[in-house]
């Protein structure tokens, strides 16, 4: 057991080192967050600012600081939510090992297959969590510059949400990774995740702006609940400020909160934060079960003559 833990630690270290040494993989995994920042700086920030002021009743004006803090919170809630999944998919060393055949070299060592699979998951989680935590810290620095209205509890819950969503993202990447064994499949999945995940999780634009059918569809995806978690904790403080400092009527503030996914209403029921956590953690547990099941079912040994490297 002690020896197996040593091997696990050696493998986790190797996987993390590999990810950070591969500049291209590192850059690709940050591509979606970078695109979001560019979109924000070029036009999204303006669109959101106009939407907020458009929702305000005549005669009510709010400070630039509040608008900046609101837009910044919305942007970073999107970035962190998306990064938890896209970084996990890009930093999946299991897939890279299969593609460049390094897995052959690991399979001939006396390391248990279960240790190898656990090492992939742990390193995937750690790299994703590390990068998302850095993004989180950057977001706090940014908000401190434009207007920091998060409470201690908000900050704490943002860290907890990051852990939960990184677990979810890493487990999802691990489950999908088991099926990927060709460069084509890897490229297809990476492209799909990078381009689609932002949309289906409501990170690129608020879910409230989608049609009823899509809204219903998105309400069945656990990723949506993950994004809403970040939205809530990033925007709670600034929405409270709208009422207390900027004197925006409560119903208008609530309208703004709904318009920007500050809370999620599914079938006329507001989903409370504990339910959002439950859904994300529950899905993660399901994915964990699936990962273990697939690891047992899917043998590592190649089944075709070509796979065997003949």
């Amino acid at each position: 057991m002690k020896n197996e833990l040593k091997k696990l630690s050696a493998l986790v270290g190797r996987n993390i080192k590999l990810y950070f040494k591969d500049k291209m993989t590192f850059f690709v995994s940050l591509l979606t967050p970078i695109i979001l920042v560019v979109l924000f700086l070029t036009f999204l920030k303006g669109v959101y600012a106009n939407t907020i002021t458009g929702l305000l009743p005549e005669g009510v004006k709010i400070s630039n600081q509040t608008i900046e803090a609101f837009c910044g919170g919305w942007l970073f809630s999107s970035i962190v939510a998306v990064s938890c999944v896209t970084v996990a998919f890009c930093s999946n060393i299991m897939v890279l090992d299969k593609l460049n055949k390094s897995i052959q070299d690991l399979n001939i060592t006396p390391v248990k297959r279960s240790t190898l699979l656990v090492s992939y998951f742990i390193s995937n989680f750690l790299t994703t969590f590390l990068i998302c935590t850095i993004v989180l810290v950057i977001s706090f620095i940014y908000l401190a510059c434009v207007g920091f209205f998060l409470t201690f509890l908000d900050v704490l819950m943002l860290f907890v949400s990051t852990i939960c969503m990184c677990l979810f993202g890493s487990l999802m990447a691990s489950v999908v990774g088991i099926f990927i064994s060709s460069q084509g499949a890897h490229s297809a999945v990476s492209t799909l995740v990078s381009s689609m995940y932002g949309f289906i999780s409501g990170a690129y634009m608020p879910i409230s702006q989608f049609g009823a059918g899509i809204k219903t569809f998105l309400s069945f995806l656990p990723s949506t609940y993950g994004t809403i978690l970040f939205r809530q904790y990033y925007m709670n403080g600034v929405i409270n400020r709208l009422q207390t400092v900027e004197h925006v009527p409560p119903q208008v503030a609530e309208q703004i909160r709904l318009a920007f996914d500050g809370k999620l209403v599914v079938f006329d029921t507001t989903i409370p934060p504990w339910a959002l956590f439950t859904i994300v953690i529950g899905t993660s547990l399901l994915l964990l079960g699936l990962y273990i099941l697939l690891a047992h079912l899917k043998k590592h040994k190649p089944h075709s003559k070509n796979d065997a490297g003949k």
């Binding site: 020896n3 040593k6 050696a10 190797r14 390094s102 052959q104 690991l106």
Partner: protein, 308 residues
């Protein structure tokens, strides 16, 4: 299992749907020998090696490594094997040292054991100066040396090399062979290799030729040449009349500006020819048949054309 056999393979079978990749083969490898596995692409040699390394499940048969049953003791067998794959499968982005260190940890080597083995291999394979360089920055020859070092870092009893010199330039190929010869001379390491270079197979103690999943020959290079390849009488200096006399006597030969070459069944036939034309032959040599001819005569296939 005989005590000096480090590997014993009995009635091994592996099918991929309709294709019989390995079709009931049996052979053994003696401790400390250099064992060559020859065959065209798809003949079944890599499948056999992959089964032996535990990378691939077999359909039937038994494999014993150092007396251990592969079916029951794969965990004990793996540390006894060191494998050099056809293409380098080490982590290109990591340094030589990191690659070797991680692999040593996976074999439960202590820090002291690792340092000792690293020092020995780095001096033997001459890679002390590149320890901190990432693998992708190394030349083909340097990389091959690291592949071999990785395979040997845990002191295995058996070194398996799957076409270790394929794709290497002639100079590096010679270097790899010098390393293998030196390792073999200085330890009781058993070396198993697959290769398509006949001159490399020629260096082996035992050669197994596999064709369409079946073993078609299993012997030492000398016996194989005696059995399956003709010898060659090369005449470098001769009387001008010799070619016409050979033609008249119905003896087939090839001629170029340097020599006449006559293919003979065996050394006795060569001797008879030399005696017969003693006064017309001034300088000659008799060459044993080549492994290419052995392979061609056994399988009916040309290795070069087959493109192993």
């Amino acid at each position: 299992m005989a005590t000096n056999n480090v590997i014993e393979i009995q009635h091994l079978k592996k099918h991929f749907k309709e294709v019989k990749a390995v079709d009931d083969i049996s052979f053994s490898v003696k401790k400390g020998e250099l064992f060559a596995f020859l065959g065209l692409n798809g003949a079944g040699k890599s499948t056999t090696i992959n089964i032996l390394c535990g990378q691939l499940d077999k359909d039937d048969g038994k494999i014993f490594v150092d007396g251990l049953d592969l079916d029951k003791d794969i965990g004990k067998i793996k540390p006894r094997l060191g494998v050099v794959f056809q293409n380098s499968v080490l982590d290109a982005k990591l340094s030589v040292l990191d690659n070797l260190k991680v692999k040593a940890q996976l074999y439960d080597l202590s820090k002291e054991e690792f340092q000792k083995n690293l020092g020995f291999l780095a001096s033997k394979l001459d890679f002390k100066d590149i320890l901190n360089r990432p693998l992708f920055k190394l030349s083909g020859g340097q990389r091959r040396r690291i592949d071999i070092a990785r395979a040997l870092i845990h002191n295995p009893q058996i070194l398996i090399l799957d076409e270790p010199t394929t794709g290497l330039d002639p100079k590096t190929r010679i270097l790899v062979w010098e390393l293998l010869s030196s390792l073999k001379a200085s330890s009781d390491l058993t070396i198993i290799l697959t290769t398509h270079y006949m001159e490399e197979a020629n260096e082996a103690d035992t050669i197994v030729i596999i064709d369409n999943g079946k073993i078609v020959a299993n012997d030492n290079p000398n016996n194989l040449k005696n059995k399956y390849a003709n010898d060659f009488l090369r005449i470098y200096k001769f009387d001008k009349s010799l070619p016409s006399i050979l033609k008249k006597d119905n003896i087939k030969f090839s001629e170029n500006d340097k020599m006449l070459e006559i293919e003979v069944e065996n050394i006795e036939k060569a001797k008879a020819l030399i005696v017969k034309y003693e006064k017309l032959i001034y300088d000659f040599e008799v060459l044993k048949g080549k492994m290419d001819n052995v392979f061609l005569n056994i399988t009916g296939k040309d290795l070069k054309e087959g493109g192993i």
